[in-house]
């Protein structure tokens, strides 16, 4: 069901004028059309929306972007910047005016900070805030400061005045690894740190750049953030379970499982369920969109899903190489099945003993004669 870009051109859904303008900027019309059709498909919109999308990203309403990095690893910036085709992420990045991004901005020190404050003041309620990394609440926010101010204060100010905030990656969406137990810095997500902000969560470790691009395109086209699920994630990207779209699913249903890394089953591409795959617990479009321009994704590469786009994944999805979590209060080696079997055996033994004692016990039986009720 590939959308044919040339066809929609013939049908006039994207105007010739727009195409020429992009060509003047050095983007081939084919690439631009492909970009529009990928975005339409990513957002699960009918193909007829392609023209509208093309117009929206053409209109001269470039919202400024402030990209903040807090307790994160810059993996999301990397994922976004490493997009290797001009047609996808880079295009949107060029198109938007990124006024502040610690990793890529040319300005430094006071100049950079000044630019940020200027954007916040001038474009109040109009700019897009993007947050990468969690926000520490402990020690009055002292664990993460930028230019002498705490991440918490910065986030409250910048996200609180934005038209929309996009939390990229699991740390800003749910606290991520910094928030894993025992969470020494008191790390929280953007929506917890700035309760009043309009936040879209794009979790993943890292997020998939395609989903960020699509979310921004959605915002530009419709003037609002896309519909979300109960964890604040856009349905277009997190609406389906990995397990339900996984290329190894046939092996799961058949009953073919890799038992160890590198064993015969693993080499034949069998299902990774017994190696602890959390695909059945995880919602993300990895199997269809994949990473790095559709090159691959963890399960294709032979490693089970670790559930990185689910809330608190570091605490809830571990152990990564086992199907189920540990039973709280018991040791590492005590799986639910070992404990259960122990329980069943202990019950049987206890009642067996009770039965022997009861059989030996005399004089407690009812001495009876039966009368029929009429």
């Amino acid at each position: 069901m590939m959308h044919d870009p040339e066809k929609s051109l013939r049908e006039g859904s994207v105007s010739e004028e727009i195409l020429q303008q992009w060509e003047a900027r050095g983007i081939k019309r084919r690439d631009f059309l492909k970009f529009c059709s990928v975005m339409t498909a990513s957002l699960a919109l009918p193909a007829s929306f392609m023209g509208q999308i093309a117009e929206a990203i053409e209109a001269d309403n470039r919202p400024p972007v402030i990209w903040m990095e807090f307790q994160g690893c810059t993996g999301d910036s990397e994922a976004f910047l490493r997009a290797n085709q001009p047609t996808a992420a880079e295009l949107i990045l060029d198109y938007l005016s990124v006024d502040y991004h610690e990793t890529i901005m040319a300005a430094a020190g006071h100049h950079a900070e000044a630019a940020k404050h200027k954007t916040v003041d001038e474009y109040k309620g109009k700019y897009i805030a993007i947050v990468e990394g969690s926000i520490p609440m402990g020690a009055d926010g002292a664990y993460c400061t930028v230019a002498g101010d705490s991440a918490l204060n910065i986030a409250r100010k910048v996200c609180g005045n934005a038209a929309a905030t996009i939390a990229v990656g699991s740390c800003s969406s749910y606290g991520g690894i910094p928030a894993a137990a025992p969470n020494p810095t008191g790390a929280v997500s953007v929506s917890e740190a700035v309760p009043g902000a309009t936040v879209l969560n794009l979790p993943g470790c890292p997020l998939n750049a395609e989903n960020l691009t699509a979310a921004i395109v959605h915002f530009l086209t419709f003037g609002k953030l896309p519909a979300t699920d109960r964890f604040g994630r856009p349905k277009f990207a997190y609406g389906k379970r990995i397990h339900d779209n996984c290329e190894r699913r046939g092996h799961f249903d058949a009953g073919q499982y890799a038992e160890g890394f590198g064993d015969a089953g693993h080499r034949q591409g069998w299902c990774l369920y017994k190696l602890g795959c959390k695909g059945p617990e995880t919602f993300h479009n990895c199997p269809t969109v994949r990473y790095n321009e559709g090159t691959s994704w963890p399960i294709q590469a032979g490693h089970g899903c670790i559930g990185c786009s689910e809330p608190q994944f570091w605490d809830t999805m571990t152990p990564f190489y086992r199907r189920l979590p540990q039973v709280p209060g018991f040791g590492i080696e005590a799986t639910a099945d070992k404990l259960g079997l122990g329980l069943a055996a202990a019950t049987a033994v206890a009642f067996g003993a009770h039965g022997v004692a009861s059989a030996l016990r005399k004089g407690d039986e009812t001495d009876t004669k039966v009368k029929k009720e009429d």
Partner: protein, 219 residues
């Protein structure tokens, strides 16, 4: 010498749901165990072992749920032995006496048998717990099941459990409760046998036919 009389205690819905539950629990435990730990690995990709296991699990899950609901309704419309007060002996003074008596018998403290027309007090309490475990299985099960279609009916009905307990928490609970039910079943069949032998009240047969031998002085 006591003269016992035969009395109709377990009405047919009680017996029917009991046996539906037993069959469902056996099938759900076997298929559920396989889902949790697929110990059989097949060589042909055209097999459908896990597929059938899950299919059976879901079909029997529906049957089990219906059976649970029917039994719940019967708690309100059934006879005095099936109604919910019978399952809460702690709520009445007589119930407490009954609990103490049964406890003393089971722990070999006294020889005097509990003799109850319906469930004895300890059994009734165990059943209350088991009905709750059934409900937990149904709720966690359908919450997990609903994930194949976010926004669908089952997701709407039980999906709210996910943010509270987490997906893995629900799975672990679902898995552990299976073992608790197996533990209960062992104990349950044993005590049924014990009372059958000692009370001579025909309790084992009663769950098939509905009749028990009752000491008329007992009620």
């Amino acid at each position: 010498m006591k003269t016992l009389e035969l009395r109709y205690v377990w009405e047919w819905p009680v017996r029917l749901t009991h046996w539906f539950n037993v069959i469902c629990i056996i099938v759900l435990s076997v298929t559920g165990y396989y889902i949790g730990d697929p110990f059989v690995s097949v060589s042909s990709t055209s097999s459908y072992v896990m597929g059938w296991m899950r299919f059976l699990h879901f079909v029997f899950a529906y049957v089990f749920t219906i059976s649970w609901v029917v039994r719940l309704i019967w708690m309100f419309v059934g006879n005095q032995y099936a109604r919910f007060p019978a399952f809460a002996p702690w709520a009445s003074k007589a119930g407490w006496k009954n609990i103490a008596r049964t406890f003393c018998y089971y722990t070999f403290v006294k020889k005097e048998l509990p003799h109850c027309v319906g469930h004895n007090a300890l059994a009734a309490m165990a059943y209350s717990g088991v009905f709750v475990l059934f409900l937990i299985q149904i709720m966690t099960g359908f919450a997990l099941y609903g994930q194949f279609q976010p926004g669908g009916f089952w997701d709407g009905a039980f999906g709210w459990l996910l943010p509270i307990f987490g997906n893995q928490g629900l799975r672990l609970t679902h898995h552990i409760v299976m073992w608790l039910l197996i533990g209960f079943a062992i104990h349950h069949v044993y005590s049924g046998w014990l009372m059958d032998v000692k009370e001579k009240n025909g309790v084992m047969g009663s769950i098939f036919g509905g009749y028990k031998f009752i000491d008329p002085d007992e009620d």
